[in-house]
Amino acid sequence: MTRPTYSALLLLVCLLMTVATPTPATAGPAQTAVGEPFPDLVFPTVDGEQTVRLSDHRGKRVLLIEFASW
């Protein structure tokens, strides 16, 4: 059974802790206002091969497309 690489996920968690801010219920990055810093999120890729942190792309413009496969 394919599993994400969770050692990478653990790293992800550690990275997140340096940037996470208090999160009220049902709030989050999706509620970020235009002109405000977008939270520096870190996620595993769906193939579990790596984690991607948004700030890894600092210096470039990022188009983040959020969708569902259902």
């Binding site: 802790m17 049902t26 002109g35 977008f38 948004l54 600092r58 497309i65 959020e66 496969s69």
Partner: protein, 399 residues
Amino acid sequence: MTQPLIESGDLVVLGLVQEQHPERAQLYAQWQQLDWPILWDPFNTTGATAVPNAYLIDEHGVLQGKRLNAESLAAFMEAEFETPESDVQTSPLKEQLWQTPDVSEEALRWDPKLSVEIAYWLSLSNAIWVRNEHEAVDHLGGMFGLGEGAPAMIPDGDDYFRLGVAYRMRYDSDGRQPGDFQAAIDAWERALEMAPNQYIWRRRIQQYGPMSDKPYPFYGWVATAQREITERVETPIEIPQALTQAELGTEGSAFVPEGEPANPDPDARITTDAGIVTITSATTPDTQNPGTRRVLIEFIPGSTGHWNNEAEPLTVWIDAESLPEGWSVESPMLIHQPGDDIAASSDEPRIIDFGLTHPADAAGTFTLTGYALYNVCEADGLGQCLYRRQAFEVVVELE
């Protein structure tokens, strides 16, 4: 229009998928030939209430747009942005946890409502699948008042939704515990009660729920994707968790005999299975119409057996006498359909799911009974293939 921008290095495109099962998103990306990284957010940590969304983030990490169209993207690429001052601060608590090698255990000692909340959830998934720490989920369920005793904290909708994700993750892991899937459904129900307009949460329930509650067939695209990928002479990404009929959006979890099917073993003459196959069950509500549920029964041969696909198919019988007055099921008999290309033997979990209706005002705990007949072969010993019977119960709790 984005391709030249990507090739020039001026623009990075990232996908972010709201999905419980990452392999399904992989298959979707393979089918659609998406060539950008697809990130996985099972816990809905972005807080999005619906999808799709697009975020335009400038080179300094500042959000410059939320609505995607050709004009806004062009304007985004042409604009000059100034470097803002960073307001990110690190609290002593975060620094403490940063130094903690075992994040999950440490996080459990803290109130999950602290600023490490998102990290906590991600670390929990790590605990479930990497270290096989089942207790972490139960501990959390207890803290939220899902077990016996008073809750240690008052959860919000995010907490309940993410707890449900964790239960479902454990259900899909080697450390699954009885009742995990039902616990996931129950937690998602609580979340949705708190925020009925949160459509990410609503869809997670509807995914497994009654046909009457589906705005569209959630995974109806899978068969087409697999066929078209194969036609491209590629191997489709494997989906380890079997798709239920509820997820496929097709009526009937299995072959349903026409007319009034007869009880295939009314006198219980078929020998009882001594433990080769494990049976679990869960029911999922209709998020809009009380009185309809989807029953899911899963059969797992585990390490001690495998299915004999050249013999009698898995058959489920629901005892009519166990249904309270006013209750009904789609059919008392359902027969599993393994598919045309199935091997002579296999050991995959098998799911039969079907519709259940009851009075909308029914409340309390109800137990449906039934049994399954199947042909299963021993994995050890003489390796005999045996026709076996196993009784099961489906517990339905209605508030």
